[in-house]
Symmetry: C2
Subunit: 365 residues, 2 copies
């Protein structure tokens, strides 16, 4: 695949508000702060569709007593896509979000800058952004909740929904050692931290089938795309690895952004994974306590991923750790796709992708 | 506002699958059926943001025991937008979805054709697509569910989630008199009816504050846009009316697509609403029983909207019923933004919008 970056100037920005009249937006931070780039975005296609899902029978009670009993679809995965109008189209990139979040993670940043979804499109990659099964536009199976309400199931049978408190986010996402006390070099746009809080939705992944149907859906999506780069973040950080274990021929590269875990795979699994180029990316301040009792620090997770990378390299796998700190880039947070230098990090990933997928010598795209 | 339609040819279509190799997609209906238009989409801007929301304190239990207690944001509204790169930009259009659905309603149709979101953009309108508060990427307040699970609240205190069964959808959305028996003239793409099933998510709107925070968020969004067209569908069909009652100066036109209700407003309310042009659109086969016991037929809802229109016109309001049947267009369903003739219906709405907003003589856009 021939790579030629089309660099997009993003220094000159104006706000969407300015299209109408920026001065009257004083009380409307979220919209007024939304920036538009100086050059238009030209898309060959955009839209959305679903992958997977299963049809289940439910009673009238389970359906919430609005209509008759019957069948519904559950565990399907919503995917939104943008395909650039580019001459030399590059590999599709699938971006999967983390816990209590949705595909919104990759869109406009909390302070209104361009998200990685659009930036990767502007650099020639078709981009596919799912909502994990159980969240956002992918929905979930509500039957157990209605059965508990009706008294036909015990309350303990319904899964807990979890959310991070804003206070818990500060140490865990490494904005600072304590809520309201940022690291002096923090790259997160902290003036807009309340906008990040709005991106969070309740997470019922503890109530999903195991493993989450999202993993099979990602493998199926990669197959339908005839090859894709899978990018996971945090909770979904290991999903690209899991999808590659289902079918390593359709996962053309794996990018793990601040993965919550790099599992301890068997030798056979590592051998299979070695067929696919892997990049792991971690931010700064990894020794900060997460604020989540019994949870490993991000440094411990970093080290587990280092161990996986070492095993892959030992059998000639193309695996690499991208630690911006070693390049003098300090202060990146857990939400590096939203950090103030988010496009600098994106560029490093794009450069790696360009080199890895060129090395493969694939010209069919 | 000067209107000049840029008509987009959509007769010549190819599939996204064809970009890669359509022949290998036999088992992948949803993606393989996705069509791309022959002309690229040129956007001045696209992205997403949130409107509204309130910060609430929650206990560790209420947050699902992942981290410490603290504050989260609830009842915020997610909005995705596309702004066309057009010389004579038209009024922004906000498209709100119906019950058990999300903003996906307005995107790519179940059989892979262009959604109204893109079609309105290609016709010069900036388009804003929210997820109603409580659904999709807008999230909800999960505290009561976790309290029930922990035994600190009675199961009956948690709201029912509702979904329509696929069988219930057939009569209610008027695909046919019974499940699997379509009207001979049905406009819905019934070969893809399973893809519509995937668009549904559980609906907890019975558990939201009253009125739903979505209405205030729509008014705030209109104000931030310095004027917008509000389009509601089904459950949200009356939301544009309710938003106009909050501030009729920022709602430039109201479009009610198959509204679930046209409320019985007071004379004072009708007087306020008469300041804003109103279009109500209903499909065919309105006498079909809905399959929902005690629910009015769509013909009864049609007549209530006719009554509201009559009251508005009696005091010189610009209000109109668009009944495609009277124009010889038969077989439209409840999901007319997804019907096979969806762009024909969209054109009728665009023509009405063009005339109404021109009549107002507004040139500031």
């Amino acid at each position: 695949m021939k790579i030629s970056f089309r660099r997009t100037p993003i220094q000159l920005l104006m706000t969407v508000g300015a299209l109408f009249n920026a001065s009257s937006y004083a009380s409307a931070q979220s919209l007024s702060d939304v920036q538009i780039p100086p050059e238009p975005l030209v898309l060959k296609a955009q839209g959305s569709f679903y992958i997977g899902g299963e049809r289940v029978a439910q009673t009238r009670d389970e359906l919430g007593n609005l209509g008759p009993d019957g069948h519904i679809t559950v565990n399907q995965m919503y995917v939104r896509y943008m395909v650039p109008q580019a001459v030399d189209e590059k590999l599709p990139v699938v971006m999967v979000h983390g816990a209590t979040l949705t595909g919104k993670s990759w869109e406009t940043t909390p302070d209104g800058r361009m998200g990685w979804d659009e930036y990767f499109v502007r650099n020639g990659h078709p981009v596919y952004v799912p909502d994990q099964v159980g969240r956002g536009r992918s929905g979930f199976n509500q039957a157990i909740f209605n059965n508990v309400r009706a008294g036909s199931a015990a309350p303990t049978k319904q899964p807990e929904w979890f959310r991070f408190s804003d206070e818990g986010v500060w140490p865990n996402f490494r904005f600072g050692p304590k809520p309201g006390e940022p690291f002096s070099d923090s790259q997160f746009p902290l003036a807009a931290v309340d906008e990040l809080s709005k991106q969070a939705v309740p997470d019922m992944s503890r109530g999903l089938p195991t493993p989450t149907p999202t993993i099979k859906a990602l493998s199926d999506l990669s197959a339908q795309l005839k090859g894709a780069v899978l990018m996971g973040h945090s909770q979904s950080g290991s999903f690209p690895l899991e999808a590659a274990l289902i079918d390593s021929t359709v996962t053309k590269a794996l990018v793990l952004v601040e993965p919550g875990s790099c599992p301890s795979y068997t030798d056979d699994q590592v051998k299979k994974l070695a067929a696919v180029p892997l990049l792991v990316v971690f931010g700064d301040h990894r020794d900060n306590p997460t604020g989540l009792p019994t949870y490993p620090t991000w440094q411990e997770r970093f080290e587990r991923c280092q161990a996986l990378i070492a095993r892959l390299k030992a059998i000639d796998g193309e695996a690499e750790m991208l630690d911006p700190v070693t390049r003098g880039i300090r202060g990146n947070s857990h939400m590096m796709m939203q950090d103030k230098n988010s496009l600098q990090i994106a560029d490093l990933i794009l450069q790696w992708l360009s080199k890895r997928t060129s090395d493969e010598g694939e010209g069919e795209q």
